[in-house]
Symmetry: C2
Subunit: 436 residues, 2 copies
């Protein structure tokens, strides 16, 4: 068969990794695909990396549109990142009749509806396996592997930087700031770590997975997002005493009231597989009606793991180049005309159990005051930790784990609790049992 010709936009970490994997494994890739995948042209801001990447003989331009408009190219591989130029490139390439492979989670989460709509109209495919959980084939698993199932819920560790930080805090009993510094020193976190530690990156990925799971349009603005910077070593320690581990999870669920999409620190039972996913690794736990619980684990970032997904997408697109567009896997798993206008629940409407770390004055009756407020809101207490303090201290921690309650009632109770003269401050973290 004819080789498939690709044009790559962006030769940064993922672009470089993609070139390396395509060259290193070209024999296996051709033996699997039944045809060669040829890097026909590349665009990058500078040409310094071309020699290192063994691309000296490949057509090069600093202008992405030279590649996009090259009539010989079958597939444009967008690895620029960001949402401005990347969007122009993808729209331009679709207009020029090119299929797209991208690793760009922000682009898909924010502009995916528009992009998929155009692709659909043009009979083209936009593949984005690398946008979620790096090299883990989670998009494929959800769209194709679980296609017989109603998907009920997703819980994923989908940001390696955040997971590295929380793992370090748990293993070494260090503060958030110190764990972040380690992540930065090792190159796992950017100098401005906001996207990772505040959950924005995870929210992009959760938004994409939710659409594929529940057959809804991409609605990034409706993902509730809470970061991990307020987690304290004490929270990690108390969680452990209660039999839990704190992870930064992306959680999506569908029930009769609607769809929940939320990224926040979460206590999960320490006997679940997900609680043993440490360091920069990612994992996604899916509950679905036919299969039950399934979990997908692997590297969620890095040049070669991400390239693994990018190249798998290139091979997939190469396979459907000659196919009837109607028979391809739909971008968001469901046929575009079958996407539902399901209600997306506000965070106040969700139900969860809660870990509450209260700083209280060390005197008799405090727990009784707090219990009364919780009880008035019908909030049951699952566990309490009160430490005997040997030396009298102005404040002591009081840890409460509640049973399931609607978040609105929890908020109302906490507002009252915060007003107690015996309560100095509090920190609350949601808690999930993760099925079973």
């Amino acid at each position: 068969m004819q080789p498939v010709k690709i044009g790559i936009l962006g030769l940064g970490t993922v672009g470089g990794g993609t070139v390396e994997v395509l060259i290193k494994n070209s024999t296996e890739i051709a033996a699997r695909t039944g045809r060669d995948i040829v890097i026909h042209s590349v665009a990058n801001l500078d040409d310094k990396c071309l020699k290192k990447l063994k691309l000296s003989t490949v057509k090069f331009s600093k202008d992405v549109f030279d590649v996009i408009n090259d009539s010989q190219i079958d597939i444009i591989v967008e690895l620029i990142g960001g949402t401005d130029l990347a969007k122009k490139c993808v729209i331009g390439a679709l207009e020029a009749g090119k299929h797209i492979v991208t690793a760009n989670k922000a682009l898909i989460a924010i502009h995916g509806n528009e992009i998929f709509s155009l692709a659909q109209k043009k009979g083209l495919t936009v593949s984005f396996e690398a946008a979620v959980a790096g090299g883990i084939p989670i998009i494929k698993a959800m769209r194709e592997g679980l296609s017989a199932n109603k998907i009920l819920s997703i819980a994923g560790i989908i940001n390696g930087t955040g997971n590295f930080i929380l793992s370090k805090m748990a293993e070494e009993n260090v503060k958030f700031a110190d764990a972040l510094k380690q992540a930065q020193d090792l190159g796992y976190a950017e100098s401005d770590p906001t996207f990772d530690v505040e959950g924005i990156d995870a929210a992009h990925k959760l938004c994409i997975m939710s659409s594929i799971a529940f057959g809804i349009k991409l609605q990034f603005d409706k993902v509730y997002t809470e970061g991990i910077s307020a987690i304290k070593p004490d929270d990690v320690k108390h969680a452990k005493q209660l039999g839990y581990v704190i992870k930064h999870l992306g959680i999506a669920k569908q029930d009769k009231n609607g769809v929940q999409m939320r990224v926040h620190p979460t206590l999960i039972p320490d006997n679940k597989l997900l609680s043993n996913v440490d360091g920069v690794m990612n994992a996604v736990l899916i509950q679905s009606d036919a299969l039950g619980e399934s979990l997908y684990y692997g590297a969620g970032a890095g040049a070669h793991p991400t390239a693994s997904a990018v190249v798998a997408d290139i091979i997939d697109v190469a396979r459907v180049l000659t196919s009837d567009p109607k028979n391809r896997v739909p971008h968001l798993a469901f046929q575009p005309n079958k996407l539902q206008n399901t209600t997306i629940l506000a965070i106040e409407q969700i139900t969860s159990s809660y870990y509450i770390n209260l700083q209280v004055i060390d005197e008799a009756g405090v727990l009784a005051q707090i219990s009364k407020i919780l009880s008035d809101k019908n909030i049951s207490i699952e566990a309490v930790i009160q430490h005997d303090t040997k030396n009298p201290q102005p404040q002591v921690p009081l840890i409460i784990l509640t049973r399931q309650v609607k978040e609105r009632f929890m908020d109302e109770a906490l507002t009252k609790i915060a007003k107690l003269s015996t309560v100095h401050s509090y920190n609350r973290i949601r808690c999930e049992q993760l099925g079973d």
Copy 2:
């Protein structure tokens, strides 16, 4: 689009589950696939289940060939099991121009080469996701998700019955026979459990995964197979003391010497995710060059989990009905003319570390004798457990964990050790670090 018409052969556990999932989730399935999947006809030994499965209006026959030769059917779903009639059905259906979906691991492992060759000649697809690890989309992950990778090794818990037994032995400190009895009482094990506990079922699955991983023909007769019936509660206990868990693993690796395929009890470090996969659950750990370590976890058996994979295959086949056969995913991941004649290593040629549980006479100098024999064969000792016995006993356990050594040398050493007058008996189990 036109509905896809399927014919189902066999309405046992998996056949019944497949019908139930197709009916229960028909709306979602049609919304994903873009067309209805219609059960056009079924064959079964008796018609008692038709009413229960809401199939009263579906064409029924006791003769599978009535379904196979029905000209209206696009896809034959073979869920009979076994290798005799099932093979006749699949060959007959291919001859009649029908695509195949099957959950039959024995059929694929033993007759897959012949079946795929015929399918290839006819331009037809044989899908078999449900044959390996039940509902976990592991075939899809390996054939498509990891298509950019050289796969280096596989280690899988791929028999739920065996894993249930070993989990029970570890949790409740019971004997193999008692754990097997529990598995039988719960319906997890057959009254004749040979296929499961002796590793034959796992060997079928490993054979299939190995071909897909390494691009070799199916060679079931070359899979080394060892069961779990000789594992004793003491082994489980000693393994734990050493920081390991005993699992019945299917292991396949490719290195410069060739491919290894082996199913046997294995000590694995207790901090690896795989060691936390308990009960009837399955999981497959894959090492590949671009992605690194990835793991896939879920239900490896049961009516609905297996149906999840069967129906996903039906949807996949529906999608490629109109596609160019050359552009489909090859049955064994690699194009048929690219399969390699890689050497399959005999078990004596593998390298492993070993746990040895020796029953020795409780007297001075025994460890020295044994150490000398190991050292003469260049076998290093990683750890030793000798228990102080309060009451003199005729025999005491001596536990040795070795470093990596070629199995042939280990066998030679053990033959010598067994001849020592101080050694009563021994049991040895291979030990794997599982990467990192």
